[in-house]
Symmetry: C2
Subunit: 228 residues, 2 copies
C-alpha cells in the first residue's frame, strides 16, 4: 500500500510541475508537442526534416530526451533547430521536472514552437504529462501493425499518430488499414498522418497541419484538451 | 530517500524470486533465455520460426509478456509451442514474480527449453532478473544503428544480440558494422547473430547455436554466469 501511495504522490507532483510548464508556454503563445514512439521509429529524422523545411517560417525548439548520448540534440542543431539534451541515465521516460530544467536552457524568444522528443519507449512515456498541448505517437511500418492493440495506453493518450516509413511497405508484412483500425478502436479521435521521411511522401500534409497548429493558438488548445 | 529504499527493496525481492526460479529450472535441466527488444523488432516471429524449425528436436515453451492482448501466445500455440501469456496491464517490463506465476501454468515435463519474451521496450526490462540463464536482445535494421549507444544498459545486460530484418538493408540507412561496433563497445563479450526471419538468411547459425545451448547444460551455464 505504501508503494502505491508514493507512486500517486510522484504523479501528482509531476502534474503540478506540468501545469506550471503549460502556463509558462501558453503565456508566451508557444505550442508544444510531446513526441513519443518505440526506439527507432524515426522521431529525430522527422524533426530534422521538419526544421529544415520550415526554415524561415517557423523556428522550432526541441528538448531531446535520451537514456544516453547527446547525438539527437547534435542532429537537431545541425538541422538549424534550438535544442537541449536531457540524458535520463537509465530512466525510461521524461518527467515534467526534467522539462522544466531544460526550459531554462532554451531562449524562448528565439522559437515559435516547441517539441519534446521523449525517450524511445511505447510504454512508460504515455503516463507522464510534460505540460505539452498535445501528444503525438510515431509508429513505423517495420514494427508490425498490431502495436496500437498491444500498447493501447500510448495511443489512447495521444491526439496524433504518425505512420512513418511508408516507403518500406512493399518489403514488409504491414497492413495500413489494420494499424489504423486498431488505433481508432483505442482512440477514435486520433488524427493520422502517413509519411516517409526517406522519400518525402506525405510530409506536405504534416507541414501544413503543423503550421496551422502552431499559429492557431487558443482554439486548438481547447480542442486538444477535449481530445486528451 | 524513502522512495529509493523502496525501489531497492523491490529489486532485492525480485532477485530472491529470480534465484528460486533459476534453481527450479536448472534442477530440471531446462535452459531459459529472456528475449528483449524494442516493440516490433521481431521477437515473436523469430520464436515462431524457431519452434517450427526445431519441431521434433527441441520442444520449446514460451512465457509471453505483453502490456495487453494474448495475440503473441496464440501465435506461439499455432506454431506448436507451449505458451503462457502474462498481460502486464500497463507495466513496462516483466518481474520475477510474474514468471513464477506463469511457470505454474506450464507443463515443464513437456518442454526441453524455455523462452521468456519480455515486453517490447529497450529500457526497463534490462534491470530485472527473471531467473533466466541468459538475456538476448533483438534489434532490427529499421531501428537505426545507434541503438546500443543510446540504450547501453540493455546491451550490457545481454549475452546475445540478434540483428533481425537484414533483408531490408538495401532499403534503409543502416550500417551493420556500426551497430556491432557500438554494441561491442558496451559489451565486448556479446555473441552476435545476423538474420532475416522473412528470407531465412542467417537462421541456420541461430538454430545450431540454440541446440548446442539447450543441450550443453552446466558448461554453458558457467560461461553465461561469467558473461552476465
Amino acid at each position: 500500500m505504501a508503494k502505491i501511495s508514493i507512486v500517486q504522490n510522484i504523479l501528482a507532483a509531476n502534474d503540478d510541475v506540468a501545469r506550471e510548464i503549460r502556463q509558462t508556454l501558453q503565456a508566451r503563445g508557444l505550442r508544444t508537442i510531446n513526441m513519443m514512439s518505440s526506439a527507432g521509429a524515426g522521431k529525430t529524422t522527422l524533426l530534422e526534416q521538419t526544421i529544415r523545411h520550415l526554415n524561415g517560417r517557423l523556428r522550432l525548439g526541441v528538448i531531446e530526451g535520451d537514456v544516453e548520448t547527446a547525438a539527437d540534440a547534435e542532429r537537431i542543431d545541425a538541422a538549424g533547430g534550438e535544442s537541449v539534451q536531457i540524458i535520463t541515465q537509465g530512466a525510461c521516460h521524461l518527467e515534467a521536472h526534467m522539462v522544466r530544467a531544460a526550459l531554462t536552457q532554451i531562449d524562448l524568444e528565439a522559437i515559435d514552437m516547441l517539441f519534446v522528443e521523449n525517450v524511445g519507449n511505447l510504454v512508460c512515456p504515455a503516463g507522464w504529462d510534460l505540460g505539452e498541448d498535445l501528444k503525438a505517437v510515431v509508429v513505423s511500418t517495420t514494427e508490425g501493425d498490431d502495436k496500437p492493440a498491444k500498447y493501447p495506453h500510448m495511443f489512447a493518450a495521444s491526439q496524433v499518430m504518425i505512420i512513418n516509413k511508408i516507403d518500406l511497405l512493399p518489403y514488409v508484412d504491414y497492413d495500413l488499414s489494420a494499424v489504423k483500425r486498431f488505433a481508432l478502436a483505442v482512440n477514435p479521435r486520433l488524427r493520422i498522418f502517413e509519411l516517409s521521411c526517406r522519400t518525402g511522401e506525405g510530409l506536405a500534409a504534416w507541414y501544413e497541419w503543423l503550421l496551422a497548429f502552431a499559429h492557431a493558438k487558443t482554439e486548438v488548445s481547447e480542442e486538444a484538451e477535449v481530445g486528451g
